[in-house]
Amino acid sequence: MINIKEMVVVSGKGGTGKTSLTGALSFLFRNKVIADCDVDAANLHMILNLDKVLLTKEFFGGKKARIAPERCTDCGKCRDVCMYDAISEDFVVDLVSCEGCGACHFLCPAGAVDFDERLSGYCYICSTGDNGRFVFAEMIPGEENSGKLVAMVRNEAREEAAKTGHELILIDGPPGIGCPVISSLTGTHLAVIVTEPTPTGAHDLKRIVELTNHFQIKTAVAVNKSDINASYAREAQQFCKDNSLVYLGDIPYEPKITEAQKEAKTILDFAPQCGASGAIREIHTKLQSILEEL
């Protein structure tokens, strides 16, 4: 039985460079499955060298209530029990407010509330050019339960890893610290936080570190766009030291990362000699030795 290790890239704050770093690392790691768990706004597939989609799976995120007017007796029980104010005075369910709890469905004395599963997204299993696997998903815009879709992506990735004998799952996580982030983090072996040297970056770094500590996940930090503000960059390094986090290094601001994105490439593929690529290679070396020790 192989020993699969899961490494997840998160950030707290959005736009710090999670996907650019994950893409670049996927270029360097061999024998891995890549998973994009930012199911709200998946971007990693745009810069990976994808071969083809092997399988598309439907995702059902939960149920929603619908009142059948011909069976409804206007008794108002559903409006009394709904905690989300999702039912109008003329007994129409607002699908935005409906949480899918089923209270109205189960408690309606006339049995007038239907409660059906809704298609909320899709999960794709793809092959990559280097014989690896890539799993990503798309939520149908505005649908709920992205945490559950994240869990589906990670399950599929683990199955692919077991099938193909790959020992590493490289996960691109969503921004924030809520439901989809928790779902991306739980049970992983290593969290890599990408931060930026700004007051907002520093603020959000503290909160995401609290979260990885809460789940007792080994945590390493990389400072992206490190030359924007030298004093915040040093502060981030000091923060790692004070909190016994692995400091992976700085990645200098690199306009070529946007150029690479426009060419649908990772920075390592597009400009292997630039400063950012060099820094990411060093980060990769450090990550490899951390993963070996785990």
Binding site: T19, A41, C101, L107, P141, P180, T198
Partner: protein, 301 residues
């Protein structure tokens, strides 16, 4: 510092009681930057402004608006409290719970509070009346007054707490009358964003001219369109042309209501927690235009 000419355009007064939400899909495009600067601009122009930070997972508006917080209240959601003496382990509650928050064991029922959505169905469904409602704290609501008299409110989600939705709902309960309300949304395109923007008079989509920015903008736009909200586009960090974005915007009749250039000075001031307009008053004119464009989009001016 040169004196800034703020507008006394009557159009701004007409924007009273408008909800202006800032969204983007992709994170880090500049939602908060544009939102706090518009709030500052409107306040400097003599309007009453309320700033509501609905990015409860990572609220950042306070870093720039520097409010003096004078009220801090915990935000609670309903959670079932099970009287294990009355419980017969019949399994009705756990079999009806849609969120798998309850598990029935031979001698009792276990609750997983972080999975509970606080719907109260189990309380109604229990045949033994063994369940009552209790409170569970999910975060904090802080209120105060920020720079230029801006009425400030934000929610801070407890670390480890998955459910942002109810806290966003709670922040929005504090709408103040006779104000222009600036609402900062979280990144993404799913339920927390929907809960933030569903009652907006205008949704301002802040995007960046990159493939990632455009891809996520398209998803966010379809969310706002499904909700029937008017949309205006702000292009941040513009640097030359990016034809795919321009083509998409013109094909979908999405108006660009402001563009900010890629400017190292803006980045530098951002990285020290400054309001751009305070340090770079040259941009005041663009915010005048932004405000008036938002007013026109809403149909209120």
């Amino acid at each position: 510092m040169p004196k800034v000419q703020y507008t006394d355009d009557k159009g701004l007064k007409m924007m009273e009681n408008m909800n202006i939400a800032f969204a983007s899909g992709k994170g880090g495009t500049g939602k908060t930057t544009i939102a706090v600067n518009l709030a500052y601009f409107l306040a400097r122009s003599g309007q009453h402004v309320q700033y509501l930070d609905c990015d409860v997972e990572e609220p950042n508006g306070h870093i720039f608006l520097k409010p003096k917080i004078d009220k801090s209240t915990p935000a609670n959601v309903l959670v079932p409290v099970i009287d294990q003496d009355k419980c017969t382990s019949c399994g009705e509650c756990s079999s009806h719970c849609q969120f798998n928050a309850l598990v029935t064991l031979p001698n009792n029922v276990l609750l997983f509070p972080e999975l509970c959505h606080g719907c109260g169905l189990c309380i109604h469904i229990c045949p033994e009346r063994a369940i009552r409602d209790g409170d569970r704290e999910i975060g904090l609501i802080e209120k105060g007054t920020a720079t230029e008299g801006i009425d400030f409110i934000h929610g801070i989600l407890n670390v480890g707490e998955p459910m942002a939705g109810p806290l966003i709902h709670e922040v929005k309960h504090h709408y103040k009358e006779n104000c222009i309300r600036i609402i900062d949304a979280p990144p993404g395109t799913s339920c927390p964003v929907v809960k933030t923007i569903f009652d907006a008079d205008v949704v301002v989509m802040v995007t960046e001219p990159t493939p990632f920015g455009l891809h996520d903008l398209k998803i966010a736009v379809s969310v706002a369109k499904n909700l029937g909200r008017p949309i205006g586009i702000v292009i941040n960090r513009q640097n030359g042309e990016f034809p795919p974005l321009e083509e998409y915007l013109s094909k979908n009749d999405l108006p660009v209501i402001m563009a900010l250039p890629e400017d190292r000075e803006i980045a530098r001031h951002y990285s020290t927690g400054d309001i751009i307009l305070e340090s770079l008053p040259v941009y005041a004119e663009r915010f005048t235009e932004l405000a008036l464009n938002i007013g026109r989009l809403s149909g209120k001016t």
